[in-house]
């Protein structure tokens, strides 16, 4: 059992458990699965100012902040106590494609050559942390949801706008990886 848990989980076990988050939140308290909303609640709680978009009773939505706090704790527990610390396996084709860009697949969750503090004030840091993060925060709110709110909750409730949003998420990701990365990694 210990071995089973400490290995990476297969897609069908992981997917089924993530799918069960939907009824779990609904039945525990009529809550709708959606994580990007937490970013809006943080804005509403910390700096509402005179922006109407952030003027609502964020305390009523605070369950969402408890949920994301739980994600941080859960991830820490999983890494420290439920892991066999084997290098993350990456498909050979992706290893090769990344090598062509000058990125070594180092077995971590994310390449240390990009995700470290010494890159913070470099062009690399600007692109990967500041611009990337900004696009995630701006884009998800503009789209009205993210992978959880649209792709999982929205598709589970058979909403066609969520299907369109999901297709656009994927299109954006394909575009950045195939069209932007090849020249981006030449300049940073």
């Amino acid at each position: 059992m210990k071995d089973f848990i400490s290995q990476p989980w297969s897609w069908y076990v992981s997917g089924a458990l993530i799918g069960l988050t939907v009824p779990a939140l609904l039945l525990l308290g009529n809550k709708h699965f959606g994580i990007s909303s937490s970013l809006r609640h943080i804005c509403a709680a910390c700096l509402p100012g005179k922006v109407p978009f952030f003027q609502y009773d964020w305390k009523r939505e605070i369950w969402n902040l408890f949920f994301v706090a739980g994600i941080v704790v859960g991830a820490a527990l999983a890494v420290n106590f439920l892991s066999d610390h084997q290098p993350v396996k990456v498909s050979a084709n992706t290893v090769q494609a990344l090598a062509d860009l000058g990125i070594v697949a180092d077995g971590n969750l994310a390449p240390v050559s990009i995700f470290n503090f010494s890159n913070l004030f470099t062009l690399k840091g600007l692109v990967f942390f500041v611009i990337g993060g900004f696009l995630v925060g701006f884009g998800t709110r503009y789209a009205g949801g993210c992978t959880s709110g649209h792709s999982i909750m929205g598709l589970s409730t058979l909403q066609w706008p969520s299907l369109i949003a999901t297709c656009c998420f994927m299109a954006g990701g394909f575009a950045v990886v195939h069209l932007v990365f090849p020249w981006l990694f030449k300049i940073i």
């Binding site: 739980g70 941080v72 859960g74 706008p161 656009c168």
Partner: protein, 168 residues
């Protein structure tokens, strides 16, 4: 749209508009006691996010390069399980643990689904993380992702400021 709206129960409580993660509970909840259960679900979600490696930048690269089925399998299975669960809740009129009817909302289409969706997709490809995995990456020890999260909060704030000037 009207027809779809009719299939969903009317809103019973006031939300911030367009709130993706609505809270439809009528009964009041205590700040800490009631919310601990969502902390618990979050902890389980964080564990799953790490163990499934969906928070790995490499897995997102594999997905957008069509080099691995893993992410498609995870998201596809999650949608199927989620859809069956929602169907069962509706079909058997399963109530929440407080005995309330489960409320569903229509998400009306607007052009933000497309434009914002494309923007988020670009960010997803770069950071290798959607909002959930951002939190999970921080928990897993990638502390520098705190900067990404702060930037995402800033992005959400700028959207809030510009909302009325953007096409929807």
């Amino acid at each position: 749209m009207k027809k779809i709206n009719d299939e969903f129960a009317e809103r019973s409580v006031v939300h911030p508009d367009e709130c993706g993660a609505a809270n439809d509970q009528v009964a009041t909840e205590s700040l800490v006691g009631s919310n601990l259960k969502y902390l618990g679900v979050g902890i389980l979600f964080g564990i799953i996010a790490v163990k499934s490696e969906i928070i790995s930048w490499y897995r997102i690269q594999e997905m957008f390069r069509l080099h691995s089925f893993h992410m498609y399998g995870v998201i596809g299975t999650a949608v199927v399980v989620g859809a069956i669960s929602v169907w069962m809740i509706k079909r058997f009129n399963i109530k929440t643990i407080q005995g309330e009817k489960v409320i569903f909302h229509a998400k009306p289409f607007h052009w933000g689904n497309v434009i914002g969706g494309l923007m988020f997709g670009l960010g997803w490809g770069i950071t290798g993380a959607c909002p959930g995995p951002l939190f999970a990456q921080i928990g897993s020890g990638l502390v520098v992702v705190v900067v990404t999260l702060l930037s995402a909060i800033a992005g959400t704030y700028v959207y809030g400021v510009l909302q009325n000037k953007l096409p929807h």
